[in-house]
Amino acid sequence: MAEGGSNSKKLRSGTATAVNTVGANPEYYVSNVQTNLRTLDESTANDAHINKFMEIDGAFLDGIGKGHLPGVLEADFKLFGRPALLYRKLTQQLVDQLAKHAGAEATAAAAAVPKRASVIDGKNGAGKSAELMKLASVAAASGHIVIYASSTVSWVNSSRPYAPANDSDLFVQHEVTMDLLRSVASLSKEALGKVPLGKSVVVGKKTLAADKTLADLVEFGIHTPSLAHDVLENLLAIASAQKQVPVLIALDSVNTLWCATSYTDQQDVVLPASRLRLVNAFLPFFEGKAAVASGWVVGATSYVEPRFMPKDLRLKLNPPPMVPLANADVASDPSIARPASEVPFEVIKVDRLSADEAQALMLFYHKTSVISTPVTNALVAKKWVFADGNPREIFKSVTTYF
């Protein structure tokens, strides 16, 4: 791929080409625009960069692994020629919350209120996965212990090996857990090394001394597939209890934690997600039964695969408008069923793009030759209104011919 070189060009469709394009017809070949984008990290995650595109750190992407980026982001990054995302006002709010949770030295009042997990919810293509990825990137850069799963759909869609656990009615997924531990080790190498175990930890037949660190524990788990689950559970227990290094637990497609999986037990009965030991390790954090002492637990929903979005959860996240019952007798009647909308976590809604954000988006598309027409206020307004501020719809409308 001739990208970044002086003769590198790409086709108007956005595809890079390895053809020598010196003297090529400019009608067909467009020079790669060298856009200088700042890398998103703790120093650049501030108000000054709102409505600007920023590049996700390459080391962070390597830590997640190629092919494991959420949703359509991988295709988008390939099209842009760089892993860039828009830094929105919502992103700044999330970064502020992250800092607040990380720096939350407990006041007595703050400690008294149990911390709830947060779930980012919104329509398809609103930017939930992108926001979570930006948050995880900032957390990793600022020295958090980051436990980030870019998609939990692979945990439940029966695409990875599973086996019944020996000592319980749960099912284990050693390979998936090992991948997660590898990702944690890669994203939070230094942070893990700062946290000692505090007590000797027995994992299988091996005992890790109290002076060993979380990095040693994770390394052990990576090299011992059969004990990966025990290592993950110990990691979550120790990391969530300590306050030295803040922790970010970020799960994309978090709705899968409550879905009916594609796995079956030995009697060919469909397994609920809670029967998977990997899911069971994270479920208490989202159900309010466990919390991190210093840090934040965030999830993002995904509506891409409706079979993994439980109906009752969808109703709770998007409750129908309910008219308050004026008649006191009717209101107090227990047989009147009203859909439950209480959830054990805080919901953060991803709203539509603002006009400025839409303009920044379209200008970036123009700079990266995704669109060739000049970006005027009228064009931005038209695309923004017709797409109802949905970034994915704006992208589709500028890239389809008809």
Binding site: S158, S159, R160, P161, Y162, A163, P164, F171, S262, Y263, T264, D265, Q266, Q267, D268
Partner: protein, 139 residues
Amino acid sequence: MLHLLGVNLPDQKVVSVALTYFYGIGPTTARKICSRLSFHKECKLSELTEGQLNQLSGVLSEMTIENDLKRQVSANVQHLRQIGTYVGKRHAMGLPVHGQNTRNNARTAKKLNGKLLRKYSTTSTTAFAMFQSPLSKHV
């Protein structure tokens, strides 16, 4: 290709699909076998370990498939013929067994029924030779 219990199974196929290559195993039974052995839905035959293959062989050995099943079916049809049932006679004549019309169609029955009987001849069938299909070699 993996050779299991006398059948060549394609390596690159998903296990639940490869198992249907056995006579007597369809998609439902294949899926139940995979559930019993905790094979995930996208597991390919080439990904199975030796232990898992042994487990699979063990489960398949318990089932009646391939030649055992063919023999059983053939024996069932023979039995019906021997005891002189209507169904047996229909098999012998190579006509439909389940009450279908024979004025038209019945092509499949004429082609397939009685095949199992033509393979095996016993003395008791010769008394009914006049009822046997014209294609029968036992007339």
